[in-house]
Amino acid sequence: MWHRGSFSDAATRVSLLCWLLTLLCVSVFLLGTQASAQTPPAPQSHAQLQLVAEETFFRPGRTLWAGVLFHLDSGWHIYWQNPGDSGEPPKIRWDLQSGFQAGAIRWPVPMRLGKGSVVDYGYEDEVLLMAPIRIVSPKVGSPVPIDAEVSYIVCREICIPGKARLSISLRRSKGRSRAPDFSEWRELFERTRAQFPKPMPSAWQVSVASKGNEFILSVRGAGAASAAAFFPLDPGVIENSAPQNLASSGNGFQLTLRKSEQPLKPVVSLRGLLVLGASGAFEISAPVAKQ
């Protein structure tokens, strides 16, 4: 009889209690995450997707940020807006009620993927692809569903396409306070913003010279750089797999980039990100000087 209890019975009861508490906590946690929705884990999908919002309530006239959070299995990746030599960037099609307008994805700084002759740009482990959602109409009901249809390709040695339909529901703020009500995802959004490329510092002077099969990207006024990598925004401009050689020059540096073997059209300017190690990433755009 259990109520008389031996030591092991007591232990069983304690562990049962722990279990129930865990279950309760998990349930509370799941109920609490109204600002996120997860796809049921598909076997061998190698990517789990979650739709998350930075705030728990919306206010007409304001912009809130929502995004798709990718959790990727170890070694698997998805792609940047310019995927490089292969792959395709994920596509998010927002399905919003009238009065809600989604803006473009803000892409965090990617990493270079691959070592051989096929080099790509993308993300591993975890990445949030966020976009602004403007609530333009004052006449919107509550709660409001925010739906997103995501199609993506996730690759390691092989590639697997995926599709997900994600949905969250947001309520209209009743409070008069102007302060936003942040969701539990606030920190992730802030962390992602910190990875956005920055505008080019005004003290920099960037120029591009065309020399044989190379582009020489010169940055003056930036001081010396111990590491630099250029990520092109446009395909078919440089050879993604070619090494990029850094040399200091005056009050700045030069990065030598190999031209694409197969340019899609004449390259009139170089647009992309210049990633300078710990100093962060900068958006640059410079016309290619005529030879």
Binding site: D85, S86, G87, E88, G114, K115, G116, S117, V118, D120, S151, I153, C155, E157, I158, C159, I160, P161, P235, G236, E261, Q262, P263, L264, K265
Partner: protein
């Protein structure tokens, strides 16, 4: 003597390959010549097809971008349509042994039958030599060479870079566009596009 000549010819060919592989094929220029063996053990060179249009199609049967075009029957339809018009269609498999898409000759012939595919031949390129010579990056990656041996198109198969077969209908097929325009004596309006697909699974 014959043997020595054959060896010399082979060496000369390897040397030529090494020289020409210093730079990949480029649209508007002569496509580099090659020698490769197909899934029936037959040798093909580009030069033997002088006077004809040649299409090179890089493949990896398990890549979802390639599967889109085979499972829908789109690739087979293109192969039939253009080979019926005298085009030489060479499918190239450059996956390294052990990598996805690597095929033996027997595998490949069974697959061609199963898929009802109709290329002129499938070139087996497990060393990646032909892939690197043309700088093929993805599967599919498409090349069109005109009867003068000039590369007139390189890039994607069409303008819908997805794995979804429903995107084929209504897509602009760049290979058909290049062949149609060139055969009509017109310049190719879209001679180079970004090829989409899986990376070619090279040895390196």
């Amino acid at each position: 003597m014959k043997r020595a000549l054959a060896t010399m010819a082979a060496l000369a060919f390897i040397a030529a390959l090494m020289v020409s592989s210093a730079r990949a094929a480029r649209v508007g220029e002569h496509a580099p010549d090659f020698t490769a063996t197909d899934s029936n053990g037959k040798t093909h060179t580009l030069s033997e097809y002088a006077g004809k249009y040649v299409v090179l199609e890089w493949t990896n049967r398990d890549c979802p971008f390639t599967r889109k075009h085979y499972e829908s029957g789109n690739m087979q339809r293109l192969q039939r349509e253009w080979t019926a018009k005298g085009v030489i269609w060479l499918t190239v498999a450059s996956s390294a042994p052990g990598a996805q898409g690597y095929v033996t000759a027997t595998d490949e012939n069974a697959y061609l039958k199963q898929e009802n595919a109709a290329p002129t031949a499938v070139l087996l390129d497990p060393t990646g030599a032909l892939g690197h010579l043309y700088d093929a990056k993805t599967t599919p990656d498409m090349f069109v060479i005109d009867p003068h041996g000039i590369l007139i198109y390189e890039g994607a198969i069409d303008d819908r870079p997805t794995t979804d077969a429903s995107d084929i209908s209504g897509a602009k097929n760049y290979v058909s566009l290049a062949l149609t325009e060139s055969m009509a004596g017109k310049p190719v309006s879209e001679p180079a596009t970004r090829s989409y697909g899986c990376g070619v699974k090279y040895k390196d």
